[in-house]
């Protein structure tokens, strides 16, 4: 075997190995030991043992002791340090004989795979120790960078064979079981039918099931009925309202600009509706990406869309994506501010679509990931020509013309409207000339004025604009300083991926855009992109299990956490692409697995002892639902939820103290009509300077940066809110009314109905007793304290209490 072949084999072997790391599988151990003895040991002997022998043990390092591969495989610390020093060229020291490039690579590759293995087998001293490794000051891509797991293309891994008789029907279970087997664990038994219906309903719709839905499935909890249930939930329009909001978290959706004045982003809600509808339509994810990043080019150049069609409108509205960032209307420097805006777009694009912290490379090469500043600005040049928000204070030379809206009409439609208007105006003018008296003149003047207005008023969308086909130059900015441009860069993808430079077809002189974003979109939405599909399936998985296979869904880089089961992740990613990027197919695939349907109860003491964190997935996770779901669930239980879909946002009535926190109290906040206020939370306005307090206190997305994982806090102010906020009172009272209506005369029946509506189950005997005694005590106490309508006081109190129990907002 020649040296080059040797190296190639080593590469291939490392890659095969990498796929298996998640399983911490002992199958590779013999190969690894052999590799150590035959390939690494001779090189260590030749270049290292001179100083690091048992006798000399320079730097306290005795490599002789590690001659046995069995011992070598237990020393991640030493190998990590060795890799570092060899990579940096510190070892072997300059005055000593140096290994050839090939030898160096062989050594590094071998040690890297060794390290990966030892880290997986001995996790307590594993990859996380000491945190991620800082890169050296001078940027250079290493072999380890290029072979990083997340940068390798996705291949469909072989499904582990099950030793079980029938074998799992769903490949997910095979992958999960394989991991559990390594830990000598097994899956929890299935959850109860009631738990399953609740889980499915909250996961897909963000709403509780009706008691009737639960009862039906409890009667017939078959696989077929389960599939039907999932299918039914997936076609509900509430699905998009749930999953659309997940996407809105990632693109830090808000309808105002933030900063002091927090001005409105006109028509931002159209983007929100676009996202919701796209989810409901199960729009292929690759198309969803292309529309947001380059929908205007698709629309204007009629790429797979017909002018004036719904797809055409959607493609334009989708580019509102570029307008969602916070925007400073009074920056110190417009030049710097322009780059702040572009950076916001870069950070979000990197995070949301690619799971990469690209933004870290704005001022310097990325400290941990192989992304250089040149990479950053090369990526930025794809979006450099975006015409930015304009300015109140002009001057400084930065930023754009402020064309942040686009009319949702085709050129033909606009021309038709224009000619109709001309006709209208002409006729009105003629009538005016012939006005008989002063009164008629006045009327006709008003008519003329009206004729001059657009009819019907066209729709506008928050959307992108570029000014022609000529791209603006992009330079690397020294330390991110807009006033210190260095070398000019051309659009390119991060060098570590080793992709050819993008090519751009010639643009006609009258093209509205540079066409660059379309190339970026195609690259991100490509099945060959190693990150896109993995990142998305991981997000879907995360919302079904509470934690992703990569537990840091916004960071697939060195500072993130490695996948706990990479074969599973790659299997899902392959299936996702193969299904035509269908998110709904992924839901079905995941939800029909046994893994998804496991009980979340942590009764298995042995499993708890071995894997308390449930990394191997021996049970489902108990999860608290999000802020919106808490609010929507109260509305659903009380029967007051208004299911109206879409349209301009709803402004709920807030206490005046809350408005007091805004710069000018109540500015831009006109309370919506009462019935509108009971709509789903996704339709409530998202104003950066004034979030709806109920949602904000329950960990609503921060709306300033991408949020793949919302924090999950439990605080006393939350409890105060849930006890005393006006909204909760209204819902408790509505629930009380509902249960007297639906439960009938008897108190027991009312209590039972309340439990059914809130928790979808009958109360236990003990709960019935507790509820009854609460009602009786409250009634007596209230009567003694001369409260008006003591029965009602008692019932409201019972309902408020029930709406606040843990079981309502925790999904088993």
């Amino acid at each position: 075997m020649t040296g080059r072949q040797n190296l190639a084999a080593c590469f291939l072997w490392v890659m095969m190995f990498t796929l298996r790391v998640g399983a911490a599988n002992d199958d590779v151990r013999p190969a690894l030991e052999q590799n150590f003895s035959t390939r690494l040991q001779p090189l260590l002997q030749k270049y290292c043992l001179d100083c690091h022998s048992t006798e000399k043990h320079k730097g306290d390092l005795d490599l002789e002791r590690l001659r046995s591969p069995t011992v070598a495989l237990t020393q991640p610390k030493i190998w990590r340090r060795a890799i570092e020093q060899i990579t940096e060229g510190e070892m072997p020291p300059g005055k000593k004989p140096q290994p050839t490039t090939l030898e160096r690579e062989t050594l590094l590759q071998g040690l890297t795979s060794l390290l990966a293995f030892t880290s997986a087998v001995h996790p307590s001293s594993g990859a996380g120790e000491g945190g991620p490794r800082l890169r050296s000051g001078k940027f250079a891509l290493t072999a380890a960078d290029k072979s990083y797991w997340a940068f390798q293309s996705v291949h469909l891994p072989a499904v582990p064979r099950s030793t079980k008789t029938a074998g799992p029907k769903n490949a997910i279970d095979a992958f999960v079981s394989a991991d559990l087997k390594a830990g000598k664990l097994s899956m929890n038994p299935p959850a109860t039918p009631r738990e399953l219906v609740r889980r499915a309903s909250f996961d897909l719709l963000g709403l509780p099931p009706t008691p009737e839905e639960v009862a039906a499935f409890e009667k017939n909890p078959t696989d077929a009925a389960w599939e039907q249930l999932i299918d039914r939930l997936l076609v509900s329009p509430h699905y998009g309202e749930r999953w659309g909001r997940h996407w809105l978290d990632l693109v830090r959706y808000a309808e105002s600009n933030g900063y002091e004045r927090d001005g409105a982003k006109p028509n931002a809600w159209r983007y929100r509706d676009y996202v919701i509808e796209s989810c409901n339509d199960d729009k292929p994810y690759d198309r969803f990406i292309r529309e947001q990043l380059a929908g205007d080019e698709m629309a204007d150049e009629q790429l797979a869309v017909v002018a004036g069609s719904k797809e055409w409108r959607d493609a334009i509205i989708a580019t509102g994506y570029y307008r969602l960032h916070v925007w400073d209307d009074e920056p110190d420097s417009t030049v710097k501010a322009e780059f702040d805006d572009l950076d916001d777009i870069m950070v979000t694009t990197g995070t949301a679509f690619l799971g990469l912290t690209i933004g870290c490379a704005r001022c310097h090469d990325h400290k941990f990931d192989p992304i250089s500043q040149v990479d950053y600005y090369s990526m930025l040049s794809f979006v450099r020509t975006v015409d930015g928000y304009g300015l109140q204070h002009t001057g400084g030379g930065g930023r754009g013309t402020g064309k942040i809206q686009r009319v949702l009409a085709t050129r033909a439609e606009l021309e038709k409207w224009e000619s109709e208007k001309r006709q209208r105006v002409k006729e009105a003018e003629q009538r005016l000339v012939q006005a008989a008296d002063a009164e008629a003149q006045k009327r006709l003047e008003a008519e003329l004025k009206k004729a001059r207005e657009p009819m019907p008023p066209p729709d506008y969308a928050l959307a992108i604009a570029e000014n022609g086909p000529k791209p603006k130059a992009t330079h690397v900015l020294a330390r991110g300083d807009a006033f210190n441009p260095k070398a000019e860069v051309a659009p390119a993808f991060p060098a570590v991926l080793g992709l050819p430079a993008p090519t751009f077809s010639g643009r006609s002189a009258d093209a509205g855009t540079t066409g660059r974003r379309r190339v970026l979109a195609d690259w991100i939405a490509s099945p060959q992109n190693p990150l896109t599909a993995r990142v998305m399936v991981n997000r879907i998985w995360q919302k079904h299990f509470g934690v992703g296979i990569v537990p840091t869904p916004d960071d697939f880089g060195q500072t993130g956490v490695r996948p706990t089961n990479q074969p599973l992740l790659d299997y899902l990613a392959s299936e996702f692409v193969a299904s035509g990027w269908s998110v709904k197919r992924m839901h079905k695939l995941i939800m029909t697995s046994r893994a998804y349907r496991m009980s979340s109860h942590a009764d298995n003491r042995r499993a708890l002892a071995v894997d308390e964190a449930n990394t191997l997935l021996w049970r489902q996770n108990l999860r608290r639902v999000e802020a919106e779901v808490i609010r929507d669930t109260m509305l659903a239980a009380s029967g007051t939820l208004n299911p109206k879909r879409g349209g301009p946002s709803v402004f709920p009535t807030l206490p005046k103290e809350v408005h007091g926190t805004q710069d000018s109290s109540g500015k831009g906040w006109a309370d919506s009509p009462a019935e509108e206020q009971n709509r789903r939370s996704v339709y409530l306005v998202v104003k950066r300077a004034l979030k709806v307090p109920l949602l904000e206190c329950l960990d609503f997305a921060n709306s300033a940066s991408p949020v793949g994982v919302r924090p999950n806090t439990t605080t006393a102010p939350q409890a105060l809110m849930l006890l005393n906020d006006a909204f909760v009172q209204t819902q408790a009272a509505a629930l009380a009314t509902r249960i007297t209506r639906e439960g009938g005369e008897r108190t027991e029946k009312q209590i039972e109905r309340a439990f059914q509506l809130v928790l979808q189950r009958a109360p236990t005997e003990a709960e019935m007793r507790a509820s009854l005694s609460l009602l009786i005590d409250q009634r007596q106490r209230a009567a003694a304290e001369r409260a008006p309508d003591p029965s009602r006081v008692a019932l409201n109190s019972f309902c408020r209490g029930l709406l606040n129990v843990n079981e309502m907002i925790y999904v088993d």
């Binding site: 120790e129 956490v561 964190a613 710069d663 994982v709 006890l723 509820s771 106490r781 304290e785």
Partner: protein, 454 residues
């Protein structure tokens, strides 16, 4: 749920926990040990919104008096670079030495001037931005550009709180400041560390008034709820999240009782009210804010911030320096009263009082007869008192006209590092992992200013 797993190494599970992928630590407000023995246990942060003129208050500039009206040239004005011909503007208030220490301060704050023996005046503060929004964000979060956690949130995160019936971080503000709620936002830190806003008035805290008709009725309700919750919990192995939520309702119940008590000033003596200059029954003005701050400090609240007015009708004296007069009258006696009150109760030793603003005001103007002053972040003044700071001293100098730092610059980051240090925290070690990197209050800068510390 986190930690203790043999499959997830400690650090990784910590990373996950901090990134929020898993459940956060059970109770983020539990008291946590500082990095080293602290000199101060709590902070009262007095923030004057709009930009108080340093050359009219804490920083005497005889040359500015002498050369008033003369033209001087400066290379930056209102954030624009260039060569500007400006006119030195005479300070509006007279300076004279005060106290045993003899620190020279102006007549603008006569009551505070009487407290100089307790103050450590900083005359070399430096900010990074000339706009209100950014500079306000900077003095509160260390970030002059993007929203980041506020200093109060950082301290709450680092130290937790000792009184579980009250929030760890409370902000009393009659009106919204520049940058609004971002001034007290926890941003990426867990929400429990967010400042709780108190608005002077009849209902100072949202949702503190119970909806149940009486406390007893509410207790019944909560008890029944707790019963259901415990039964629910019993079928799940002792889950910290479920437990924490049960606890949170107990705390909320306590807050309903304790919070109104904090705002009930009826038991304060006439002498105390007089010390602050507060009329009995009034909830108006900075005096009310100061007295409530002392009551909160007494009850163990970690960080209390008082904001003087908000983003309008404030210290932003572009038009006329004399608009400082009524503003000074509103804060001067209450702040002096607060210092004296803390001292007489033995609380000043371990309570750090910080007085600051987002920037100073220009010692010059572009016309000789301008009556106001513009924004000026190159140098300005602040002061510290108590909590292990050097009483009766002056730290740092501005140049002859008060245009730039002359000596011993204290950048906003340095001030933050020093505050954390006094509270027993190393600003370089108080970090939080978010979107793949460790964040600090002081970003990548900041030095503890030893000269401010006893």
């Amino acid at each position: 749920m986190v930690g203790g797993s043999v499959l997830l190494p400690g650090l990784v599970s910590q990373l996950i926990a901090e990134d929020g992928a898993r459940s956060a630590p059970v109770d983020p407000l539990l008291p946590r040990a500082p990095h080293f023995t602290p000199k101060a246990k709590r902070v009262i942060f007095l923030y004057m919104s709009g930009g108080v003129s340093h050359v009219d208050s804490w920083d005497p500039k005889p040359k500015l008096f002498a050369d008033a009206g003369k033209s001087i040239s400066v290379d930056e004005f209102q954030g624009r670079k260039g060569d500007f011909k400006m006119f030195a503007k005479r300070p509006q208030w007279k300076f004279s030495p005060h106290g045993r220490c003899g620190t020279e301060v102006s007549d603008l704050f006569p009551h505070m001037a009487g407290c100089v023996d307790d103050l450590c005046v900083i005359r070399s503060m430096k900010s990074d931005h000339t706009n209100h929004y950014e500079a306000t964000l900077g003095i509160h979060t260390g970030s002059f550009t993007f929203a980041r956690p506020s200093i109060g949130s950082w301290l709450s995160y680092g130290l937790g709180t000792v009184n579980r019936n009250l929030p760890s971080f409370i902000v009393i503000a009659p009106k919204s400041p520049y940058a609004g709620g971002q001034v007290w936002a926890s941003d990426f830190l867990p929400g429990a560390h967010q400042g709780t806003l108190v608005l002077p008035g009849a209902e100072p805290v949202a949702n503190i008034k119970r909806r149940a008709a009486t406390g007893r009725l509410q207790e019944l309700e909560l008890a029944a709820m707790a019963k259901l919750n415990r039964q629910h919990l019993a079928t799940r192995v002792d889950d910290p999240l479920l437990n924490a939520r049960i606890k949170s309702f107990e705390t909320a119940f306590g807050m309903q009782a304790e919070m109104p008590e904090v705002f009930d000033l009826s038991k304060e003596s006439d002498a105390t009210l007089q010390l602050y200059g507060l009329a009995r029954g009034s909830t108006q003005g900075f005096a009310w804010q100061c007295l409530v701050a002392r009551r909160l400090a007494e009850r163990g609240v970690r960080f209390v911030e008082l904001i003087d007015v908000g983003s309008s009708d404030n210290w932003d004296a572009h038009g006329d320096m004399l608009t400082h007069t009524p503003l000074a009258r509103n804060v001067d006696r209450p702040i002096a009263g607060l210092l004296r009150d803390l001292k007489s109760r033995g609380m000043l030793d371990d309570t750090l009082v910080v007085w600051t603003t987002e920037f100073g005001r220009t010692p010059f103007n572009n016309s000789a007869d301008a009556r106001g002053r513009e924004h000026h972040h190159w140098v300005y003044s602040s002061w510290l008192a108590g909590g292990g700071t050097k009483p009766g001293t002056v730290y740092g100098e501005s140049d002859d006209y008060g245009i730039n730092v002359g000596k011993d610059q204290v950048h906003v980051h340095d001030l933050h590092a020093t505050i954390l240090h006094l509270m027993g925290l190393d600003h370089e070690r108080l970090t939080y992992r978010h979107t793949g990197r460790d964040y600090r209050l002081t970003d990548v800068a900041g030095n503890v200013v030893k000269g401010l510390i006893v």
